[in-house]
């Protein structure tokens, strides 16, 4: 995984609450045994009509949202199942950062573990961004270094992230490698429980 420090990209809005993982990646697409190739199925039931043609009403199909790499979403984004296929599908589609007032716990974890950044902002800040993202070429700058989201028009908001994940993401570190270095301690623990 490459490190992520400052990210600049086009923002698309998805103003819906409780977007669940069954919508992000419907179960009929969970049968692949690879991590890639899920982007084509992202939001499948919303994105495509019954005949397979794109649904013009769907947010990400709108012209102004083409090429977006930052998704501005609403409350409780990613609720439902633990399927990591949800962040894989978003990443594969090209989304690198999701901004929302709140996320479901497992989804939030799953994003971080895949080098994708879930950004929690205040409801009124997200509301502002949702409004702004309606314009065709609205860009945001996300800095992991100083933990802020900003635009060219003077908007700036900071977001919380633990120093652990900040370091992990900025360096693109592999968690398993880190843990394996603690083998001695794990072994001791195992001895203690018999």
């Amino acid at each position: 995984m490459a490190g992520l420090t400052t990210f600049r990209g086009k923002a698309a809005g998805m103003d819906r609450v409780n977007v669940d993982t069954d919508q992000i990646i419907p179960k009929q697409f969970l049968k692949r045994t690879e991590k890639t190739g899920f982007g084509q199925y992202l939001f499948y039931d919303w994105r495509f009509q019954a005949d397979g043609s794109p649904n013009p009403e769907f947010e990400l199909n709108r012209q102004e949202n083409a090429g977006a790499t930052i998704l501005v979403a609403n409350e409780n984004f990613g609720c439902g199942s633990s399927r990591e296929h949800a962040p894989w599908a978003l990443l594969d589609y090209g989304i690198q950062v999701v901004i929302a007032p709140s996320f479901a716990d497992i989804f939030h974890q799953n994003c971080l573990k895949n080098g994708m950044l879930p950004v929690v902002l205040k409801a009124e800040e997200v509301e502002y961004l949702l409004e702004k993202a309606k314009s065709p070429s609205y860009e945001l700058i996300v800095s992991l270094d100083d933990k802020t989201v900003s635009d060219a028009e003077g908007f700036k908001a900071s977001f919380p992230i633990s120093s652990y994940w900040q370091t992990m993401l900025m360096n693109g570190w592999d968690e398993i490698d880190l843990t394996m270095q603690m083998d001695e301690q794990i072994r001791k623990y195992e001895e203690s429980i018999g």
Binding site: V17, K31, T33, E34, D45, D105, I106, S162, Y164, E190
Partner: protein
């Protein structure tokens, strides 16, 4: 200050703790299934890493097994996923309850029934309903595939300790009101994210009086309220359930373990970050009407009017659910017709659930135009149910008696609800398209599902003639 069971479980499993980092906690049991594991195993292979503790890992196939003709898997992709798991288990030395094993079943049904699930353990699985195992007083939560890989490689996970949430349910449940109604009621009252960032401890008289099966139903749906884990302190009910199960210790060793398990209960003076209190007498048989599990009403109730919504977000969410479900505002629950009935899933597919449904089905007939299927949670459940003749009761009443698996809970196999049809389902999620594109799911208890099958619409099980039979 006293400790909650959550504190005790957490502290017991810390391998490493350091300021500014999540805790590294040890995982006692890792359950694996075919859908969320292939990418984890290929990750291990790429880096040449072994599975640290195959003896603490157990796998089964459940999500996309067929429930008829189970040895004739026609979907090539499903077949590949199952074969991949088989190969991975062989290569890494992991025990597998494969499709032809008498121990096969839904991962959250077989863990407890084989005695793999035990109080005091940390249990993970690449599945959000892992919270089911919390019924035994274990800390059990769903993980994503990266964490599956991390657990396979290290038998540990980095986790920040969640907050504690006490859900206390006092009083006595009315006749015909089941565990499923309890958790649906909690969700209807407190919404789909009241538990986010928390581990729930369920307690109070209602929980104490519940069987292990009922506690599992309640804990199973913790994630529907946003909580990654939900648990119940072990007591005599827990211990009697586990005694004699395959993977639990026996004899004196069991008695010693039982003592330790009981000591896990929260201390009298323990405090929680948040508390919710519920009176059992408020709870009626429930039916979900919308597209998330909190959009649920009593069977005697109705769907909302838009002008009753508390805020704009809720109004939009209700409007969208009504549109998807094909309802008009204020429609009565008892007017909803069903075309499909599904009795199964890790929420309600255990022997006791099937008994409750069979009591209603007995001597009645499935309404014309309704397809009703009963899918036991495991091969063990199936054998036990057949031994007491439940299969015959269902078949005589016009239900289809199937083989074990997840089936219509998420319809990854051939069991699908066609677009526009309404399904009374004992599963746990009513999301858009969950049971098939355009499907309309109504979450209910096993008794309510059976009653809907014989009437063709939702009826109050409390008014059925043999209602005294439903506890």
């Amino acid at each position: 200050m006293g400790k909650t069971i959550i504190d005790k479980l957490w502290d017991k499993h810390i391998v490493h703790q350091e300021e500014g980092k999540p805790d590294l906690i040890y995982i006692d049991l890792h359950l694996v299934h075919e859908v969320t594991s292939p990418q984890a195993f290929s990750g291990l292979r790429m880096k040449n890493r072994p599975v640290r503790r195959p003896d603490r890992t157990f796998a089964t196939v459940d999500h996309n097994v067929p429930t008829v003709n189970r040895f004739n898997i026609t979907d090539p992709v499903a077949k590949k996923q199952m074969e991949t798991l088989r190969k991975n288990c062989e290569e890494f030395g992991i025990p597998l309850a494969d499709i032809n094993s008498p121990e096969q079943g839904i991962v959250h049904v077989i863990g407890p029934e084989l005695g793999l699930t035990q109080p005091g353990m940390t249990i993970v699985c690449g599945d959000s309903h892992t919270s089911t195992h919390g019924a035994f007083g274990s800390l059990a939560f769903g993980i994503g595939t990266s964490e599956v890989e991390h657990t396979l490689a290290t038998q540990t996970l980095w986790q920040s300790k969640p907050k504690s949430l006490k859900v206390q349910i006092d009083g006595k449940l009315g006749q015909g009101v089941l565990a499923k109604d309890v958790i649906l009621y909690v969700l209807s009252k407190h919404g789909v994210n009241f538990g986010t960032g928390h581990i729930i401890e369920y307690c109070g008289e209602v929980i104490r009086n519940m069987s292990m099966e009922e506690r599992m139903t309640v804990c199973n749906m913790s994630i529907e309220g946003g909580a990654r884990a939900g648990l119940v302190a072990p007591d005599d009910t827990t211990i009697e359930y586990l005694r004699g199960r395959k993977h639990v210790p026996s004899g004196q060793e069991f008695d010693q373990a039982a003592e330790q398990w009981k000591a896990l209960a929260s201390d009298e003076d323990a405090t929680y970050d948040k508390e919710i209190h519920i009176e059992a007498s408020e709870i009626a048989p429930m039916v979900s009407w919308g597209t998330n599990p909190s959009q649920t009403a009593p069977v005697t109730g109705r769907v909302p009017f838009l002008n009753e919504c508390a805020n704009e977000n809720e109004r939009r969410s209700v409007a969208s659910a009504l549109g998807y479900m094909g309802f008009s505002e204020g429609q009565k629950i008892s007017d909803i017709k069903v075309q499909k009935v599904f009795i199964g899933s890790c929420t309600n597919s255990r022997l006791e659930d099937l008994r409750l449904a069979a009591e209603v089905a007995k001597g009645r007939k499935v309404q014309q135009g309704v397809q009703a299927i009963v899918v036991p949670g495991s091969q063990n459940v199936k054998v036990l149910a057949e031994a007491e003749g439940l299969d015959q009761i269902f078949i005589e009443a016009g239900f289809e008696w199937r083989e074990s698996g997840c089936s219509m809970c998420l319809s990854m196999n051939a069991d699908i609800v066609p677009a526009g049809e309404h399904c009374a389902s004992t599963s746990n999620r009513n999301f858009e398209g969950r049971q098939g594109a355009g499907s309309r799911t109504h979450l209910v208890s096993p008794a309510m599902a059976a009653a809907a099958a014989v009437h063709g619409y939702f009826v109050d099980v409390r008014n059925l003639e043999s209602a005294e039979a439903v506890h």
